[in-house]
Symmetry: C2
Subunit: 96 residues, 2 copies
DNA sequence: TCTACATTTCGAAATATGTCGAATTATCGA
DNA sequence: TCGATAATTCGACATATTTCGAAATGTAGA
């Protein structure tokens, strides 16, 4: 997972998907933010094939979920992943 | 930081330094665990020069501290680093 | 069915990373 | 000062990663 997050393009994608609510508010776990592959690539100066490659890497690392919805493919982060990663740096709490 | 943690040897080193207290107990922030470079390499089948290279990478990434103590060099993790990393995956809390 | 759109797969090329051994630096103790 | 121990720097090499463009795949709508 850290290897996947260790690339700046992939980290940016991950951040776009994880910033699902405004500071101070609580994220509703039922509606994690979703972006299509194309939307995720907006603003990033990167070829579509490269973007696809990075998304695949994030998915294979277990960091993001992907599902086809008509013509496009939607991506989102399972909130459990964030909890697990957060917990990794918190020794006192249980971490499997 | 994630790039530095994305290598299995470096992640192992980082974990050895971060597991500073037993599960359920509270780490005393004043006495973060310390290991010398040689101790950190024990059990890892890796050349001293490679180990040194990885430690340098972890240090440059801001993940570990290093300080000479006589003949050896001691390494440890500043607990603030763990807090910051943990917070990165916790959107509701403030993260600068 | 044909076309446009969204995304992926497949090479290929440039660059980065991980690794080692040999030589070097730093520190301590005899 | 000399030798042993601890760690680093340097140069070289093999492997991995990032990136692209071209071609292929999947889907929806005319």
């Amino acid at each position: 997972m850290f290897k996947a997050l260790g690339n700046s393009h992939r980290l940016l994608i991950f951040q776009r998907l994880s910033r699902c609510c405004l500071p101070g508010t609580r994220c509703d776990l039922e509606e994690a933010i979703r972006f299509s592959v194309g939307e995720l690539g907006e603003g990033m100066e990167i070829a579509p094939s490269t973007l696809s490659h990075h998304l695949k890497a994030l998915h294979h690392a277990g960091l993001i979920e992907m599902e086809r919805q008509g013509k496009q493919i939607n991506c989102w982060i399972d909130p459990m992943v964030l909890e697990k990663l957060s917990g990794f740096f918190n020794p006192p709490a249980e971490f499997k």
